[in-house]
Symmetry: C2
């Protein structure tokens, strides 16, 4: 295996290297092909197109009336109208009719007075005209819209429906467009299974469902390329070389997914180097560092890293520009906005880091909240509203600092997002879906940072509402005392969403025989905790205090999850034996449940937002929409008796 | 013919009427269909999709090293390492390997010390570990990315490539999506010919090339609908009724193009009223007033006006919302910017007028210049960068006032537009095309307002450069004295583009025997003029003065065109017998040419823009790009000896 490792380069340097090489290959443009104009939507013109015919291509009447020779009307005035013979000096025309030969103005029907009973020697009727007509009055002249030979669309232009109209109008039935680049997408990895296998059986370890090529293939298609996915190749140098050779024969660009690292089973670099040349291996970006860029037989080959977020990002940074170059089109960047960063982000010096963020518009200000940063977290990308770049020269960004966000949704969508930050409850997913369905312009985005975190987000103006279930041990009341303490100067409203059951989740049949909190200290019991600041964590800690249990005696107390469902999943999969969560999460994953407490889960809303349309949509969904109530009840474990009721108004 | 005319309504009222009716029809959503996830890009989900499987669906090593039971490592410390037997207490794992049953942490290979020569009774090798491993250290746990049952995408969501990835990862091979709405597009009009006819012969009066349905069908496709174009139907009530009935049977929405007015050959209203009901006929918008909205068998039928700009606009205002409603998706509006209006726009009170504008970014400010306003000017739409709405309550907008522009190109494209306002020359089209080809990110937009108008635009900060050929009669010099007078306080540069021949254009063979300006006063000679302020007009007027010719003796002197090509077209088509224009325009349309003057055509550029990238691109195209020079020479009539030379710098 011939393999020469290259030094990691900066993002900027990687771009220079790639483009210098593309320039030297003169791989600027793809060959052209002629397609029917009516099929050319979204294709890129390969040549400028000039009008064959003028439009209109004949003079025509622009009004209903009489076509006249304007010279005949020179003498007309209010006092001495000029008389014209219909059929000789004046011909009736409807709007759109071609002007009769030799006629060069139109007198509107209402400006011509029929002389009743008049007949000339030749038997013609007369009309009187009181105003002289300037040349070409009310005539739609040749070339008014398009003059033959004028430029309709330049080269390198993406054809829109209106361009199709202008091309047809000017006499074009075919148009020369750039060929679609063919992008070969090669999945490699011994553990990968084709998703189609799932039709027969569920996946089993050590299998990995192969989905990256569907993502990067789809991204290539979005740019106007044709993506060809190859079958999965196992981790074997010869097999990889063989498929690479086949790919470069037919494709304009080859993407080989995974195996781009430096591990013992990573063959991408060796395969490229044995068949051609690698110019880049490793770029100081995060995620996406182990990207490879090489050339085989003058075709660009990109070794796309295996983690899904790395694959997405390296596509945007390195694959997209190559496709744009092949098509000769401008690099179109996503919409950018300036937002306030909701919390601090640390990032290593010397690395361009790309942080996924949720963005909301609260009280007119865009707020960007970082979401999960792991390169393996596909859902963090699915849920993200945009991406923030932390440049290599910086060690991060402070909370509250201004950052530039490249949006993944439109500005309007972001503006119409109802931002709910706080405690997690499964009913929020249902609420989000019902809002999307009934108000397609709006969406509910919920971030799970625990009850206290949600109230802090409200305080900082980062959210419209916060889900909260904080028990005051003194009063036995939920939420109110916290609101009063945290918002001494701000009018707040608490609207109940549900009452819900919290309890210990255990696997079906309770194999470890867990009965209550006392069992958590057992040697054979692994616990899974919720993060500090969450209402569920407070509930646990209160019970432990009451029972005089030292948390540090509990194995797994320091392992924290952020949602009820993650806790349930940990129990289901054996990561833990038990954890504290709501009944609905037990029902969702078919776990057994040991009830511990019934608690009140409210939405905290600043008073001034209560009249905003966004909050109004939430309130009407939980108050009036029977669908939501029905779905919540079907989850089980919820009491909806107070749903939508104002529990407190300060 | 049963026909009840309806009152024209306001735009706002039209929207209310349309949506109220759609609501009452409960025509909210289309039925769903299941498609393969890999084919679902850009489709709209018909249901929320929840994860079937977690991802990852098994615990796996996140590092190369040894899988251990973390409880075995509790006592480990620097001083008293814990000893583990490989094969029993510690199992080697590569990154990505499933965790062996019962093992719950990974110790990195570099943190485990192989005890050489050590062998236990069972013959196993030992490793030493110096730090206790917390639970699930270096383990990628089940559901880290996706927890089974969690929401992947909500209902009404447009599926992106990353969503396809998440759907596959969570075990979905099919997804329920909304059916694509079928939009029937019906062209009507006795004079219409199918563009395909042009394969056999050029069009002849009174024919009209039918292209509107390609535009509105393409716009429907852009939104995710399926557009079905019907054959052309003549203006005949029964024929129209027959095709309407066929269309509503198969389509979800019917667009019938033209015949929506109140003329004697307009049958759309009658056809809709005889088969169903029209709820709107006439909306006080400009263009697009004669739009019809009706319902036949509960299907929406829109009578789209015949002028191309009216068709485009009524689609955006009335058709698009219906398609969005059928798909249950949000109304996505184009990007909006605030710009300064370059010139005053008057607009009738009580009418919502939509003005097409060119937009440029000059010195950091967006400037919007209105372009042609006729409803028949398709090219004004093709060339526009955006649309400004002049609301019904206003009589227009002042020059220099702030207006909101809905962009038809991206903000980046607008920002990268080089704005050239001034005299027209055919070489500017070629320059625009070469710039687009070599710098896909940039484009040159030229607006033709004459030499003086261009200099005024520079003065007002509306352009980067202006084409100018203004002769000073005193000095015989071009441009310089005008620049000095108009820009007393600003440093300006004149860069030569070409020297060119101006002359009188006449039809091939000079049928009227025109020899020079003296012939313009002949009774049988019709002239076509250029607009005041253009250099060509000044040239004409100077010659007329020298020859003592009274302009008012010239027929057609008051008929003005804005470009050389329009003058040439007028002569070619018999609109005029002669006009003054450059030699290249005569060559383009194969006209004869009587030379009158050789003149210098320069680009005037404010000194401070000379170092801007945008202007640099223009200069390098005319100075260094042999392609441009070659193409200009091939036009004929140009002297490129001074091309790119600085003629003056003040």
């Amino acid at each position: 295996m011939r393999q020469i490792f290259l030094d990691t380069v900066s993002l900027e340097r990687a771009g220079e290297l790639l483009f210098a090489r593309l320039d030297s290959l003169n791989m600027q443009r793809l060959p052209q092909e002629r397609v029917r104009v009516v099929d050319a939507q979204d294709r890129i013109t390969a040549e400028p197109v000039f009008a064959k015919y003028s439009s209109p291509f004949y003079h025509s009447a622009a009004m209903d009336g009489y076509a006249v020779r304007y010279t005949d009307t020179f003498t007309a005035s209010e006092t001495t109208p000029c008389l014209l013979e219909i059929g000789r000096d004046a011909l009736y025309v409807d709007t759109g009719d071609p002007m009769p030969e030799g006629f060069n103005a139109v007198v509107m029907i209402e400006d011509a007075n029929l002389v009743h009973g008049s007949k000339t020697a030749s038997g013609r009727t007369l009309i009187e005209i009181y105003h002289s007509a300037p040349p070409y009055q009310h005539v739609r002249t040749i070339g008014e819209d398009i003059v033959a030979t004028e430029l309709i669309v330049p080269e390198g232009h993406r054809i829109r429906p209106i361009d199709i109209g202008a091309l047809l109008a000017s006499g074009h039935l075919e148009v020369a467009v750039r060929k679609r680049p063919v992008v070969a997408v090669l999945p490699t990895g011994t553990e990968l299974i084709d998703p189609e296998m799932l039709r027969e059986r569920p996946p089993a370890p050590p299998e990995i469902i192969e989905y990256n090529t569907a993502v990067i293939g789809g991204m290539a298609r979005e740019l106007g390329a044709e993506a060809v996915r190859f079958p999965i190749v196992r981790d074997d140098l010869d097999a990889i070389k063989e498929v690479l050779l086949r790919a470069v024969e037919t494709a304009d660009l080859v993407l080989i997914n995974a195996g781009s690292g430096r591990g013992s089973e990573d063959y991408t670099l060796a395969a490229i180097q044995e068949l051609g040349e690698a110019i880049i291996h490793g770029v100081s970006i995060k995620p996406g560092k182990p990207v490879i860029i090489g050339f085989i037989r003058n075709k660009t080959v990109v070794g796309v890293p295996g983690y899904p977020v790395s694959a997405y990002l390296t596509f945007k940074l390195f694959v997209r520009p190559v496709i744009e170059r092949l098509l000769g089109i401008a690099a179109e960047e996503g919409e950018r906005i300036t937002a306030l960063l909701a919390r601090q982000v640390a990032s290593p010096l010397g690395v361009d880091e790309f942080i996924r963020v949720k963005v909301g518009s609260v009280d007119g200000t865009f707020v960007a909240t970082p979401v999960g940063r792991g390169a393996g977290l596909m859902m963090s990308l699915v849920r993200a509203d945009g991406i923030v770049r932390i440049p290599a020269g910086s060690e991060g960004a402070r909370a509250g600092s201004e950052v530039e966000v490249e949006l993944m949704r439109s500005r309007d969508e972001v503006r119409n997002t109802i931002v709910c930050i706080g405690s997690h409850d499964n009913t929020l997913d249902i609420l989000a879906n019902i809002i999307k369905k009934n108000h397609p312009n709006y969406s509910l985005s919920s971030a799970h940072v625990g009850s206290l975190g949600g109230l802090m987000a409200l305080k900082k103006g980062e959210a419209h509402l916060a889900g909260t279930h904080l028990l005051d041990e003194q009063t036995g009341e939920y939420n109110i005392s916290y609101i009063k303490r945290l918002f001494p100067d701000r009018r707040m409203v608490l609207v109940n969403l549900v009452h819900r059951q919290q309890g210990l989740l255990v696997r079906k049949g309770n194999p470890k025989g867990i009965q209550g909190f006392e069992d958590l200290v057992r040697d054979d019991v692994m616990f899974i905790n919720r993060q500090s600041g969450s209402g569920t964590r407070l509930l646990l800690d209160r019970h432990l205090r009451e029972l005089n249990i030292n948390p540090f005696m509990i194995k797994g107390y320091d392992k924290e999850e952020y949602t009820h469902m993650s806790v349930a999943s940990a129990v289901l999969t054996g990561l833990a034996d038990t954890g504290l969560a709501v009944l609905s999460s037990a029902k969702a994953l078919d776990l057994d449940f040991i009830p511990v407490a019934r608690e009140r889960y409210d939405l905290a809303i600043p008073r001034e937002f209560m009249d905003e349309e966004k909050v109004g949509i939430v309130l009407s969904a939980i108050r009036e929409n029977g669908e939501f109530k029905g779905l919540v009840q079907s989850l089980g474990g919820y009491d909806i008796g107070d749903m939508g009721k104002v529990m407190y108004e300060g």
